[in-house]
């Protein structure tokens, strides 16, 4: 007997496909939901059932709780997997599933709510004995601001209480900038989240971003699945993740894992979650908890030989946690985004050509296919390349090899930036922090630029040579039978014209 009869996946793109794959392996039927723009998407084609839920804008489809619940009921789904993004961290969605007796494969509404409010989350973390960045736990107001900043010590950071995604964050180096930054952070917080509460904390210099994967079942058991190092990021968008983190000692790793489990217990967590920490100067500080499966979860899967989606489904069905296997080797994930590598603007267009990597230790999670239209409606991530190696050096070399095999034609991608990062001394040495991307060269190396110009000239030479041969052929044909020759040439123009 399968654990569920039919799981609806309330998401799109690679994560929807990821969930569908595991469900299929478990003998569970799947229901895809899709917007107008996603009629031809792979998650629709691979699922056993599919329901159209509305327009291409997320608010008209993937963010509409009513439509998704209705789709689940009409398709006879007994569980919903939210994926990441969209409704995955929405307590109303978790509650709506509860109300309709559909198993939500994620945490209960109260846990989502508690961790979603950053001020509330800090209070709970502190009570659970999880170290915090020195600062205030409550929202600060103008009269207390100066004294609070002085007490914490400059530089300080002002953050939106309801925040996320880097909005409403201000770094203040000294008192002269404090008041203006405070007003700006509040205005930004108000605009982005409709909530102008701001809190203040110490700005940690040269931090690394290290997170702990946790799993919790419905019987009160909580385990951690090691860490992921996610410091290669730009404006809080991660580009490269790896495990283990080169900077952690076994003692710190254990302390971090224990702290993450304590926090999960404190909020009555169920399912897969991630506790994010800043790590600097041998100390770690709680950042936030993400109450969903993370984009970078395959890093953990590769290292532990575990299928986290399978665990989520087992937990949802009321089963107990499996013992945590011993981790082995090193895993690296690279996100491939459709974006201009120089200015990071999204790059839209039609995927006209695709060449995918293979070989030992390589996993590609993507919903890419030739003919896919990259639209402005959704996230720009096209694929995640994940590799496993016996050790870090082998994993890096394998990742570089596989990235060079991956070719995507039709849009610009972040691939060149990822390759330059992996090749940098800073990354290879393992001693890096969240500022690393700013120090990665913006251009290809000079020898490669010369090579590219040579290849371009040679490509033009060949194209011109062929065009010349064709035109000579056409001229010859025209001189014998003028009319037929002309027609033939016109036909050839039509066929080969761009």
């Amino acid at each position: 007997m399968p654990l569920f009869q039919r799981i609806l996946v309330a998401n799109r793109g690679e994560i929807a496909l990821r969930v569908i794959r595991t469900a299929q392996e478990m003998g569970i039927e799947t229901v895809a939901v899709y917007s107008d723009a996603d009629r031809n998407a792979l998650h629709v084609r691979r699922a056993s059932h599919a329901v159209h839920i509305g327009g291409s804008k997320p608010a008209e489809s993937y963010l509409d709780i009513g439509k998704i619940i209705a789709a689940a009921r009409s398709a006879g789904a007994d569980a919903i997997h939210p994926g990441y993004g969209f409704l995955s961290e929405n307590e109303d969605f978790s509650q709506a599933c509860l109300d309709h007796k559909i198993e939500f494969l994620g945490p209960p509404p109260a846990a989502i709510l508690a961790m979603g409010d950053k001020v509330e989350a800090r209070k709970i973390a502190q009570k659970a004995g999880v170290p915090l960045v020195p600062g205030l736990q409550e929202d600060v107001d103008e009269p207390r601001l100066k004294a609070a900043a002085l007490q914490v010590g400059y530089p300080v950071m002002l953050k939106a209480a309801a925040g996320g995604g880097g909005k409403g964050i201000r770094i203040v180096r000294d008192e002269s900038q404090l008041l203006e930054a405070f007003h700006m952070a509040r205005a930004e917080a108000k605009g982005a989240f409709g909530d102008d509460r701001v809190y203040l904390e110490k700005f940690v210099t040269r931090p690394r971003h290290v997170e702990i994967q946790v799993l919790a079942d419905k019987h009160g058991n909580v385990v951690s699945y090691g860490e992921r190092e996610c410091s290669v990021q730009r404006r809080h968008q991660k580009l490269v993740e790896e495990s283990p983190c080169a900077a952690l000692t076994p003692a710190i790793r254990k302390a971090m894992g224990d702290a993450a489990c304590q926090l999960a217990r404190a909020v009555g967590y169920v399912g897969a979650g991630t506790v994010e920490f800043l790590f600097s100067g041998g100390r770690f500080y709680f950042l936030e908890m993400n109450t969903r499966l993370q984009v970078e979860h395959p890093v953990t899967e590769m290292r532990f030989g575990v299928d986290l989606v399978r665990e989520q489904i087992r937990i949802g069905a009321g089963e107990k946690l499996a013992p945590v296997p011993e981790p082995r080797g090193h895993a690296i994930e690279v996100r491939v985004n459709a974006e201009d590598p120089e200015n990071y603007f999204p790059s839209l267009g039609l995927i006209t050509r695709l060449s995918l990597p293979g070989g030992p230790g390589v996993r590609l999670d993507s919903a890419l296919f030739r003919g896919l239209e990259v639209t402005p409606f959704y996230d720009s991530m096209l694929a995640k390349l994940v590799v496993w190696g016996e050790d870090r050096a082998q994993a890096i070399a394998r990742c570089q090899r596989a990235l060079r095999e991956l070719r995507i034609v039709g849009v610009a991608t972040s691939l060149p930036v990822a390759l330059r990062t992996l090749a940098s001394d800073e990354f290879q040495g393992g001693d890096y922090d969240t500022g690393i991307l700013e120090r990665i060269p913006k251009k290809a190396a000079a020898s490669r630029r010369e090579l590219a110009m040579l290849a371009a000239a040679a490509a033009r030479f060949l194209v011109q040579e062929r065009a010349g041969a064709r035109s000579a052929e056409a001229t010859a044909a025209a001189s014998i039978t003028p009319r037929w020759g002309l027609l033939g040439r016109a036909e050839r123009l039509r066929r080969t014209g761009r």
């Binding site: 006209t352 034609v409 991608t413 590219a452 110009m453 290849a455 490509a459 030479f461 011109q464 761009r498």
Partner: protein, 166 residues
Amino acid sequence: MKYFCKLDGEECEFAIERHGDRLMARRGDRTFQLDLSLIGDGAAFSLLVDGRSYDVMADVQGEKVALQMVGERFQVHVEDERERAAHAVVGQKGGGKQELRAAMPGIVVAVKVAVGDQVAEGQTLVVLEAMKMQNPLAAEAAGKVTRVLCKQGEAVANGALLLELE
């Protein structure tokens, strides 16, 4: 044939000629033995440079060549010596006036500007198809379009006046 390649503001000149199955490229006193093989419909190449192998995805649109190789993506502007000479004719200035003339006989496939438009240096003004290749004709200097003397679909002779700018 000589090729003038531009990439991110940097210029390289290569002379390429055919020797049987191979191509020979020269830059200054250095030479490169090339073996360039088209794959399928021509959007991919296998390139051997002095025996070193490169897997190349390429899109050649007239002088614009987009490449993916060695894990990087490049947009190279490649002008051959004939085009360079023709472009030199374009935009001969007289009293702040610029003229855009057809660099070769061909068909006007696009007129990208209208009278009164302010154009930037290097901006494509007209696209001319000749020998089945699309040749973008660009403004030599910034200016304002004062006359448009050609239209889409029109066949033009070598040296025909297409646009006037000031």
